[in-house]
Every structure is written in structure tokens, then in C-alpha cells.
Subunit: 508 residues, 2 copies
């Protein structure tokens, strides 16, 4: 069913869904009328929702978390069946989803996120009076959220994009993912119930099923103000182009993946080979490698490579087979891997004797820095439990390799003590490359916090100036609005002279 | 001459410049080699300039202001000759330009603009340790600044875009405007001298002369990271499209004009007809109407229109003839006005008997709300001393009119006391329309301050989430970068635990 405001609707013909359980044709694709209705309701809801107080929005967000929790085992079992993810991961992701909703609730309840700035006027200034100017962030309008296959909860229907858009005061229209339609419907109904019981305007949330055409119609709809997407480069780039070609272009925040280079320094690898190998294999195989922060590129000093690879093989051979999200993603994984392995100058280091969508095992390949720099095909992301080891012989070679890379979500350095402190130059090169720099840790497990930056230079994301994880994500769906010479009564509470909300403000 | 890093260069053939003094072919257009050299130097300068401290950048920005001031009368006379602007305006604009440079100097010297956020780690957290994550803004890279004809100083070579980009730590390549090439060269040399005497890396600033092709080559250059532009919708949209079609798209901040609706309520116009008419005529004719914040649309209650128009005619007839920037802009002004007046249902209220580029007089026309809503041709900007009066008969008609408008830089309401306080709904409609709302004031005279928002929904600007005036303008040229589990020694000073710079930080 499509969830449209406070109603349900299923007027269209079924489209193909591809879950861990296989392919099926049971979900009706949203029709043009259903799309128009969802957007019209969102537009109408925006006229009041944009003035909802932080306390009202917080109640709504917390109610969503409660409704999701009260789905209990039914939700967990549905996610497991559709995604093939194990129970521990699903309950963990549910916890993260609800924590995210509550974090944004606290953020807007506290209220300082609007970045209020006040410049008092000076009527006596010469030659002209100085006006009183006050500024704060206001919501953009209806946001379309494309859900992600690899996070059926935390980056889907009630995930980080939805939570941050609602927190900003923007109604949300979710385009459900073909890979977890039943999960989407359960969560969409939970949001619908939460909206009703906290008296939100109808249309503050809708969820539509469909395919690329459905998404295209949403992005091109004149009353849609912004788009959030997590997925493939091809998908993200297509939405970015559609949005920029509109008569009135709108922002698209697409997170399009990354190979997340890991740089290991000689002394570190010498001292901690086995421990590091286990740590990295754990990160590469986490969630069957289906993370945008999966370390797909490990740069190690050639002289120390043999021991490390030996230790890595040991850890890899102990990795249990895992279920991938679905057969389509498994096929894409095999295809991308085949292309990379066939690009020349690449050697398989570890490969499973058998591999299937239901029981995938990690693959590791190896090449040299010189070969890697020369061949852009080796820079491609392989979405799944795969990593490419690249051996370098000098720091010049390493620097050249880093310069050859495109924008990344993360870049990681393993080094300690003197070896770490003497590599400021390397850290400086890494700065240009990524949105998050990590020392002696793995990029997977993105912490949801205030300081997180999940977004890097193109092509990791469409806009490196914003993050899709952490409280900063709310900034994507708001714009500054200045109020000049307003009487106090007509100013929003955030900007009133007496600061009735008690928020942090900058007074110029 | 082109100013490229610390050298001068004039390899190309002359292109047509169009100043107040007429058309000429004396400035050499930058060649492909010159463009490549300027960008290569900017890229190389960025590798050190991005690490310049706030104190170093402040010294550079202040030195630019000093060098501009020390140009003395030569600069004032050159600007007057090229722009046709009167001396008072030119010295005023020079003052604003230097104040802006010093404001950005203070901003980066103080240092809190980087929006530092710190989330401390918790190694004991279960099930996984909480990492230490710290985030701050870092500069994007070389910025191309297109200079504006209507602000030969404050929005040109050393104007707000250049000042904010340099303050952020981004090298700047200026594409000089055909309408003030000598002004551009004088100021570019001043910046060059300031860079040398404050030991900035060569390439931190360059200035190139040329036409559309020159601009296109700059925007498409792979090592350019962002673009700032103030000018026509056609020009801004062309750059926006070029930038989005690059293999690696980059942000374009284009400010593309606005008609800046002014709404007048019945009691206000009844009580203050003459005063208001004089105030608005002053704003419409300021700088010969050549401001993006020129009030091009005045919405007045039909019942009170006659008295107001009478008062306005009086003020208009007293307006002195003014010199427009150049003949090309005057021709465009006449063309746009002719098109609007010919769109039907429009009546001339005041028109000069004679009009020329050197002595332009204001024109005012009138139509009804009903006619205005029906005809989008009446919504077009007429760049020059022109305004369209639109009479409305009911608040419903006024609301419908506001809904028919495209995005604007500003929207203004004239009302006082009870009449003002009872119009919250109208102010809410105005919110969706613009980046800055004004009560009982004119939109011209944009205050350079922390709270200013100069940027509105498309098509006023390409990105309503950023401002091109005020300290917030620096935000356009920076992106957040997160540092995870860094030892204190390797963190930037802004994020070190002891806060050695003493900046405002958010600690989560």
C-alpha cells in the first residue's frame, strides 16, 4: 500500500520488488494521481508544519520512535526476511534509528540549531541609520527521501534523512525501496500513527512505492523543495541532473559511495600485523561489506606486505559466510569484482571456492601503487565484502596514489607515536580527499553525533558542504531568513529580544 | 593587463569593453595559457594558503584595504570615468569595500567562523567504544569571482566575494568586468602588492580580462572549486549549467536579481502618503536604479492609490537626471521596459520626455493585481530607475499576487501599529518568497553585518541557503571536515582540547 497523508492507496499496477527472499510483483506502483496527491498534501502540511515549535516536532519524532519500538518482533522478522540481515544487526539498526529520531527531537526541542544571529540597529548612525537585522534558519519545503537498500531502517523510511527533514520542519515523501517494501509499509504506518496522535497536519508524511519513473516524477514535481538519496553513483547522479534541469532547480543530497582508503605505515604494520589484519577483515566483512564506509582500498608498504597478507588470509578464512541483501546486489557485486579483477595487473590474494547471494565469502585482491595510479578501473567501488590491497614502495609513490583518487567519504591512517607525528604532510593530503579523517580505527560504524561529517568531495556525495549523518544533517533542509526592523511581537521566538526559548545566539 | 600571481601578462588580442565613456578595444583577452597559468598558481597557492592562520589572512585582507585606500584620487577618478557614478557614491563604495575587507579580517582573526564542534570519545562505551570526533570548516579550493558592473568596487575585484573567499582560505581568480577594466587593473595591482607584502603564496590572487568564453573556460577548469557571480539571470543560469555539467560539478553562487516587492497597507498609505512616496522614489532612483535590491514592484491598495501616485509624481518630477553605467545597460533598460509596457493592461504613470544613457530619468507604470497575476511578462526585472505599481482591492487578491511571484531577494511591508500586528498571515506568505523581510524600510542599502541574508529562492539566486553579503558569505567557500581519534598534536588549533585560539565551540 502507498501511505498518503492519513489514507492508504493502491491504485497502480504492481512493480518488481527484489528482496532477500527473491523477486515478486506484489506492490502497486504509485500512479501520477497518487504522486500529485502526496505532494499536494505535503505542500499544504508545510504551511503549518513549518511553524511547528521545537517541542511539537520533538513530540512527533519521539512518537515515531515509540511506534517503531512497539512494532516489536514483527518489524525485526520482516526486516530479516526482506534484507537477509541477521537479528543482531536488525535490532541494533532499530536502536540506532530510534536514537537518531530522539537525538533530532532533543536538537529541535533545545532550539539552537536555527543559528540565530542578531545585529542590533543604530538609529543615530551617520550617514544612514543602521537597521536591526536578525537571521535564523527556516525550513525549505517538502523533501523527497529515497530509501537505502543497505540500511532498511536507519537510512530508510524513518531513517536519518526523514528524521532530519522532519526536525527542520519539512514534510517528507518517502520513495520506498524495492528491496524492503514490507518493512517500508510497517514503518510508514508507524509514522502515520505518530503523526495522528501528535496532531500533525495531514501530509506531513507520505510513502510511495515505485521504480525509477516514480522517483523521477517526485524529483521533477514543482512543489518538491529538496531530495535526499543514499545509493549508487548512477542513481545519485541521475537525480542530481534531473533536479538541476528543473525550471526551478532544487538541491539533491546524494551519498553515492566511496572506497575509503586505508593507509598503513611501516612501523605500525610491523608491530601490529595480526591485530590490524583482524580489525580490517572485520570492517571489510561487516554487514557482508554492504556499507558505504566499507574499506575497499588498503595501502600498505610493500616491504611489510607479506606478513600482513598472511595474517589477513588467516582472518579471512575464519570469516563466516553471510547473506547479501538480495540477488540483484550479489550479481552487481560479482560483476564489479570481475571487472576490477580483469583490469590487468591485479592478483587475487584470497577468493572463496564457492559464493552465493545467501552465503557470500570475502574476496581480496592485490596490485601495485604504480599499476593502481595508471588504471582508473581499479578505483571503482565494489559494493560487497571485497577489498583491494595496494603496495607502495616510497612515500612519494603513496602521495601520488592519494592524488590520483577521487573524493571519498573517509580516509584512514594507521600509525603511532613518532611515525604518526612525523606524517603531517600525509594527513594534509588526506584532508583534500575526504569528509572524515580517521586515525587507527575503521571507517565503518559511523557515529551519530554532533561533530560527525558523513559526506565528502564529489563523487562521494553531490555536496561536500553537508552531512547526512549526525545532527548537522538538519542543515540540508533549511535556509537562512533575515528579518529587518521587525517589532518584537512579530519576530519568531528564536529572534525575540528577550530570548524566550533560551537558545544560543550570536549577537553582533 | 592580466595580473597572474606576481606577474603581469598580456598575450591575447583585445576584446570589447563597454564603459560609461563608450566602447573600446584596448584590453587583451586572457589566452588559454594565461587561464591555465592562473589556475595552476591558484592550485599551488592553495596547498599552503589553506593552512594560513586567521592572523595571517587578516593581515592580508587589511593590507588590501590599505593598498586600495592608498590609490587615493586616481581610483575614484577611474571608477567615475568608467561607471558614470558620482563621486559621493564612489567614495562611499570604496569605504564599504574596505570595511568589508576589514570585517572579514576581524572574523577570521577571531576564528569562531569555522563552526568547531567537539564530541568527546568514550572508550568504555558498550557494545563499541565511542570515538572522539571533532569537526570544523575547511576551505574548498580556488574560487572564480565574476565581478559586477553595478558595484565596480564593493562587488568586484576586491569586493564581498573576493574578501569572503580569501577569508575562508581560498585563492581567488577574478574575471574582470568589461565595464570597468581600468578599475579592475588598479585594484588587482593593489591586491597583488598586498599579497607580496604580507608574504602570501604566489597565485593567491589573479585577475583575468575577457568575455564569456574566458568565464566558461574558468568555470570548466578541473582545478576550480567554486564560482561567485552577481549579474543577470541569463549569465548566472549559464554558469550554473556549465558547473553542473562538469565531470565533477562545483557550486555556483549566482545572485541574479529580483523585483523586490513592496507591500503597502491602507492605513499606512493614508497617513503617510507623501513621506512614503518620497522614500520609495529615493530607493527606486538610487544609483539610477541599478541595484539588485531596487524596488521594482509596489503593491498598493486601489482605494488609496490616487493620492499616493500624485505624491509620487511630485517626487519623481524632482528627481535629477542620472548617468547609467554604460550604453549597453541603458539599451537593455529601454528594451526591458518596452517589453513590460507592451505586455498589455499597463499604463504609464510617469515617463520622462527625454532619456539617455548620460541623463536617465525614472519611469513608473501601473497595472491591476488581476492583470499582474495573469501575465508573467509583468514579473520581469527592469534593471534601472523603473517601478511597477500594482493596485489590489482585497487581501485575497494581495495573497494571490504574492503566490504568483517567483523567488526574491527581499520583500517589504509598510504598516504600523494594529494594522501591522494583525498581518501575521501576510508576513508568513512573504517568508516563502524571499531571503530578507523588511518592515517600514527600503530594500536598497544592504547592511554588511553578521545577520544579513542576501540571497533568496530561485531565481533570485542559485542557492537560497547562502548569502553573498555579510560575514555569512564566508560559509559558501568552506566545507566541514571531521577528525576522528586524532592525537591532540595533530589536530588543527581550532579543535585542540585546550582551545588555544579561544574560539566559540560547541561541545556535544
Amino acid at each position: 500500500m502507498n501511505i498518503i497523508g492519513y489514507t492508504e492507496s493502491a491504485q497502480g499496477t504492481p512493480f518488481e520488488t527484489v528482496t532477500a527472499a527473491g523477486r515478486a510483483m506484489q506492490y502497486p506502483k504509485a500512479t501520477t494521481e497518487e504522486i500529485d496527491k502526496a505532494v499536494a498534501l505535503a505542500k499544504s502540511a508545510f504551511s503549518s508544519f513549518r511553524f511547528a515549535t521545537g517541542i511539537q516536532k520533538a513530540a512527533f519524532l519521539r512518537a515515531i520512535a515509540e511506534e517503531i519500538e512497539s512494532l516489536g518482533d514483527e518489524l525485526v522478522k520482516t526486516v530479516m526476511a526482506e534484507s537477509g540481515l541477521p537479528e543482531g544487526r536488525v535490532t541494533g539498526e532499530r536502536g540506532r534509528t530510534c536514537s537518531q529520531l530522539r537525538l533530532f527531537a532533543s536538537l529541535v526541542e533545545e532550539g539552537s540549531w536555527v543559528e540565530a544571529v542578531i545585529d542590533h540597529g543604530d538609529p543615530g548612525r551617520q550617514p544612514v541609520p543602521r537597521p536591526d537585522v536578525r537571521r535564523m534558519l527556516v525550513p525549505l519545503g517538502p523533501v523527497v527521501v529515497f530509501t537505502a537498500s543497505n540500511f532498511p531502517l536507519a537510512f530508510s523510511t524513518a531513517g536519518g534523512d526523514t528524521a532530519s527533514a522532519l526536525a527542520a520542519g519539512c514534510p517528507v515523501i518517502v520513495k520506498g525501496h524495492e528491496s524492503h517494501p514490507a518493512t517500508n509499509e510497517l514503518v510508514a504506518r508507524a509514522i502515520q500513527r505518530a503523526a495522528k496522535r501528535t496532531d500533525m497536519p495531514e501530509g506531513v508524511f507520505s510513502s510511495l512505492n515505485g521504480d525509477y519513473e516514480t522517483g523521477k516524477a517526485l524529483v521533477e514535481h514543482p512543489d518538491v523543495a529538496a531530495v535526499a538519496f543514499t545509493g549508487s553513483h548512477r542513481g545519485g547522479k541521475a537525480l542530481f541532473d534531473l533536479a538541476n534541469r528543473r525550471p526551478k532547480p532544487i538541491p539533491v543530497f546524494a551519498e553515492m559511495g566511496s572506497i575509503n582508503p586505508i593507509i598503513i605505515m611501516p612501523r605500525y604494520i610491523r608491530d601490529k600485523s595480526a591485530q590490524l589484519a583482524a580489525q580490517l577483515v572485520g570492517s571489510v566483512t561487516l554487514g557482508a561489506g554492504q556499507f558505504c564506509t566499507n574499506p575497499g582500498l588498503i595501502l600498505l608498504p610493500e616491504a611489510k606486505a607479506e606478513d600482513f597478507i598472511h595474517a589477513m588470509k588467516q582472518a579471512l578464512s575464519e570469516a563466516a559466510p553471510q547473506c547479501m541483501l538480495n540477488e540483484k546486489i550479489f550479481d552487481a557485486y560479482l560483476g564489479a569484482m570481475r571487472q576490477l579483477l580483469g583490469a590487468g595487473a591485479v592478483e587475487e590474494v584470497f577468493a572463496p571456492s564457492e559464493n552465493s547471494s545467501a552465503a557470500v565469502r570475502p574476496t581480496v585482491a592485490k596490485t601495485s601503487a604504480a599499476a593502481f595510479v595508471k588504471n582508473p578501473m581499479l578505483h571503482a567501488e565494489v559494493f560487497g565484502p571485497f577489498t583491494l590491497l595496494v603496495t607502495w614502495r616510497s612515500e612519494e609513490e603513496l602521495e601520488a596514489l592519494l592524488k590520483s583518487l577521487e573524493g571519498q567519504l573517509t580516509a584512514t591512517l594507521f600509525a603511532e607515536g613518532e611515525e604518526l607525528l612525523s606524517h603531517g604532510d600525509l594527513l594534509n593530503s588526506m584532508r583534500e580527499l575526504a569528509g572524515r579523517l580517521i586515525i587507527n580505527g575503521v571507517p565503518t560504524g559511523v557515529e551519530v553525533c554532533h561533530a560527525m561529517q558523513h559526506g565528502g568531495p564529489w563523487p562521494a556525495t553531490t555536496d561536500s558542504r553537508f552531512t547526512s549523518v549526525g545532527t548537522g544533517a538538519i542543515r540540508r533542509f533549511a535556509r537562512p531568513l533575515a528579518f529587518q526592523n521587525f517589532p518584537d511581537e512579530l519576530l519568531p521566538d528564536e529572534l525575540k529580544e528577550g530570548n524566550p526559548l533560551g537558545i544560543r545566539r550570536m549577537v553582533g
